[in-house]
């Protein structure tokens, strides 16, 4: 008898597909939250695999801060087109214009927190009852506490001290009207798994993940790209550096890393010897020790 062994990456893939199929069957109106970053690109590929040869049976939704890298948005539109999915875009700018939220002020202002309101409004508007996210437990210590299927009350809040037990692979998606779930099929993937999978599947990703030359300023050790949404402080100035981005968030808070990695193989090498976490260059996580936990409690991704 030969050995029946699935490699760890194939096991993770199968687990994610299993979860997507469960959710699509248990819920009436799921949606896949799509940012154009590497994790959501993988989510789309997994959704294609889960329902093949049928189309993905739910729309994608992007909560657009309008502070994105233009490369990400161009990539998003191209990808959605190729996959043949339906994309819903809801904009934080609209929420600001409608007075639902107020723009932060100051040098380190970011629209990161504002996204929560836009997201919750959009979920309500479309009556979505399950929202897939590409968050991974290895990203951040509060994320390490998440279930695959994470309950949100009628205010969209997460209660980390009172999560539902999640046994074996029996996902309990029962809820009261007005409540919804967040679903994290790639919870168990690490940054390395993601990169290896991108290479294995030959997935296209936005160009900003690869090394390029760009004007950046150094703010408290975080290299911010030159753009319309960041104004240099008095003692700050732009320099040309050869950089890439390890995560894709807003231009106002996503730091670049200096890197020559121009191919997937080189990125994998770099990730393998990285000394800081991928979110180590995210100013939004550095605000306080429990920044992510606090945002998540309010209904953040």
């Amino acid at each position: 008898m030969h050995s029946y062994n699935l490699t760890h990456l194939k096991q993770l893939e199968s687990e994610a597909i299993f979860i997507m199929r469960e959710i699509a069957s248990q819920f009436e109106r799921p949606v896949l939250l799509f940012s154009g970053g590497k994790d959501s690109i993988i989510m789309v590929r997994l959704a294609q695999k889960a329902f093949w040869p049928a189309k993905i049976p739910f729309p994608l939704m992007h909560i657009d801060t309008e502070h994105n890298f233009p490369e990400t948005i161009a990539f998003r539109d191209k990808m959605v087109d190729e996959v043949g999915a339906r994309l819903i875009v809801r904009s934080v700018q609209d929420s600001i214009n409608q007075g639902r939220v107020a723009e932060e002020r100051g040098a380190n202002a970011s629209r990161n927190n504002l996204q929560t309101t836009t997201l919750l409004d959009a979920l309500e508007e479309h009556q979505f009852d399950a929202a897939f996210g590409g968050a991974r437990r290895d990203e951040e210590k509060a994320r390490a506490k998440e279930r695959f299927l994470s309950h949100r009350d009628e205010f969209g809040q997460w209660d980390p001290k009172n999560q539902r037990p999640e046994l074996w692979n029996l996902l309990n998606g029962k809820k009261l009207p007005g409540e919804h779930f967040r679903v994290f099929p790639i919870s168990n993937w690490t940054e390395m798994d993601v990169w290896q999978y991108i290479a294995l599947e030959n997935l296209e990703i936005p160009s900003i993940y690869f090394s390029h030359s760009r004007k950046v300023l150094d703010r408290n050790g975080i290299l911010l790209a030159k753009c319309d949404f960041v104004s240099p402080l008095e003692n700050e100035s732009y320099t040309d550096r050869v950089v890439r981005f390890r995560t894709v968030g807003d231009m106002t808070c996503t730091g670049a890393v200096e890197s020559n990695a121009g191919t997937l193989e080189a990125i994998i090498q770099e990730v393998a010897s990285a000394l800081v976490t991928e979110r180590g260059a995210r100013a939004d996580d550095k605000r306080s020790e429990a920044a992510m936990e606090d945002r998540k409690k309010e209904g953040y991704f």
Binding site: H8, F51, A54, R137, A144, W168, L170, N172
Partner: protein, 427 residues
């Protein structure tokens, strides 16, 4: 965390091991996981700096490695674990998923959550206090959940001068208890999670111990045979009907193989209908497969159009599961509201959703002696007992000992929708 310094070729060929921590509150579970990650170089600089800062702020006087997994504000403030934290690391041999679970009895349900999918459980005991009720409870839960490998780590050896007597006493005590359990593979290791003895590197302070380190055991335990490759079970998650021009007549059944090995041409039976046919093809988006085995997610097409929908199960005609409405379970109760005799619950089993009524509470288990309690039949939070239920429709199931997926159920409260019970099917 960082899966450092492993070549891509190796990385793509690793197998996966899931393990969980268990043991009483403060026995050092989180510290041990921190130590394991730290000594195997799976901690990043910014994570280390963050916990150094927090340790200093809290006046710990040393770097508290437990902070690597205790990620919630409340956990850090109280110095205890409340909910499971998942952590990841890899060595050139294996990829690991760690579930660090709480020891506090109040949070037993979170321990069960972390343990339900584990291949191996590390049970910690404080060398000063020895085996306590929580040690037994967790070891018993690990056994009930059919975790086949257990490592008993006698921790805080630094506080008992690394003496062999302290270690031997605890090993003896635990053996007395564990021979009543159903765990085939048990290891014993004296460690100090705080100082790092016998975690990743062999301790020089305990020359009397000639066994292996914890990491060595984790890397080398044989887990491939933990899966069932004999009884073919394919619970249908979803019927795939694209109705596009390209796949006009396509009708496939999506699901995950939960037991056995399926091949095209195999004669199969669909439950509950009992209709039989043969497998036409087994596919994924990437390829047509010559065989499919657990835990692969696939799409199956059949040679005859028979009525199959979500919740049904495809099995081999010559190897069928039990089909029954009256079922006996061992149940771990997970809710403050006790189990209600004659009460109705929603029941989830594989991809089926149905209802059940609790007909009988047969006995409750005394966690320390494993004796049956038959005069107090109230099953409250964290209690474990045997119950009989009747379901609204037949279940297709195996004994939990034979198959962890087709043998497990959860009970859900019909009003709060909370998951209140974890059930392992006996008959």
């Amino acid at each position: 965390m960082s899966d450092n310094h492993i070549s891509s070729e190796k990385y793509l060929n690793m197998d996966l091991m899931r393990f969980t921590t268990a043991g009483s509150v403060d026995d050092g579970k989180s510290t041990l996981i921190g130590r394991l990650l730290y000594d195997s170089k799976a901690i990043f600089q910014d994570q280390m700096e963050a916990i150094e800062k927090t340790s200093e702020k809290m006046g710990d006087g040393y770097v508290n490695l437990a902070l690597l997994t205790d990620g919630l504000r409340a956990e850090r403030e109280q110095g205890i674990t409340i909910d499971v934290a998942y952590r990841y690391f890899a060595t050139p041999k294996r990829k690991f998923i760690i579930a660090d679970t709480p020891g506090h009895i109040q949070y037993t349900r979170n321990m069960v959550t972390g343990a339900s999918t584990a291949n191996l459980a590390i049970v910690l005991v404080d060398a000063r206090h020895g085996v306590v009720e929580q040690t037994n409870r967790h070891a018993f839960i690990a056994s009930l959940l059919q975790i086949k490998h257990l490592v008993l780590c006698v921790n805080k050896m630094d506080l008992v001068d690394y003496t062999q007597e302290a270690f031997n006493k605890i090993v003896d005590d635990f053996e007395t208890f564990s021979h009543k359990l159903d765990i085939p593979d048990i290891h014993y290791i004296p460690i100090s999670a705080l100082k790092g003895d016998n975690v990743v590197t062999k301790s020089e302070k305990m020359p009397w111990y000639d066994g292996s380190t914890l990491l060595y055991v984790l890397e080398n335990v044989h887990i491939a045979s933990d899966m069932n490759y004999v009884d073919c079970r394919f619970p249908v998650q979803r019927v795939i009907r694209p109705q596009s021009d390209e796949h006009h007549d396509f009708r496939g059944y999506a699901g995950r193989i939960e037991g056995g090995v399926f091949k095209p041409g195999d004669e199969i039976m669909a439950l509950p209908s009992g209709f039989t046919t043969t497998i036409e093809s087994i596919r994924t988006m990437d390829q047509e497969l010559a065989e499919a085995f657990p835990p692969m997610s696939v799409v199956m097409t059949l040679n005859d159009e028979i009525d199959i929908s979500r919740g049904d199960m495809i099995v081999r005609t010559n190897n069928q599961p039990h089909v029954n409405q009256d079922i006996d379970l061992m149940v771990c109760w997970l809710n403050d509201k006790p189990l209600n005799l004659r009460g109705k619950y929603t029941l989830k089993h594989t991809t089926q959703d149905l209802r059940c009524i609790v007909k009988d509470i047969r006995y409750k288990v005394n966690i320390n002696t494993l004796h049956r309690i038959e005069d107090d039949l109230q099953l409250g939070l964290n209690d474990i007992g045997r119950i009989s239920i009747r379901t609204t429709k037949p279940l297709f199931y195996d004994n939990y000992r034979r198959n962890r997926t087709t043998g497990s159920v959860i009970l859900v409260d019909e009003f709060t929708n909370e998951t209140v019970g974890a059930g392992m099917i006996l008959t």
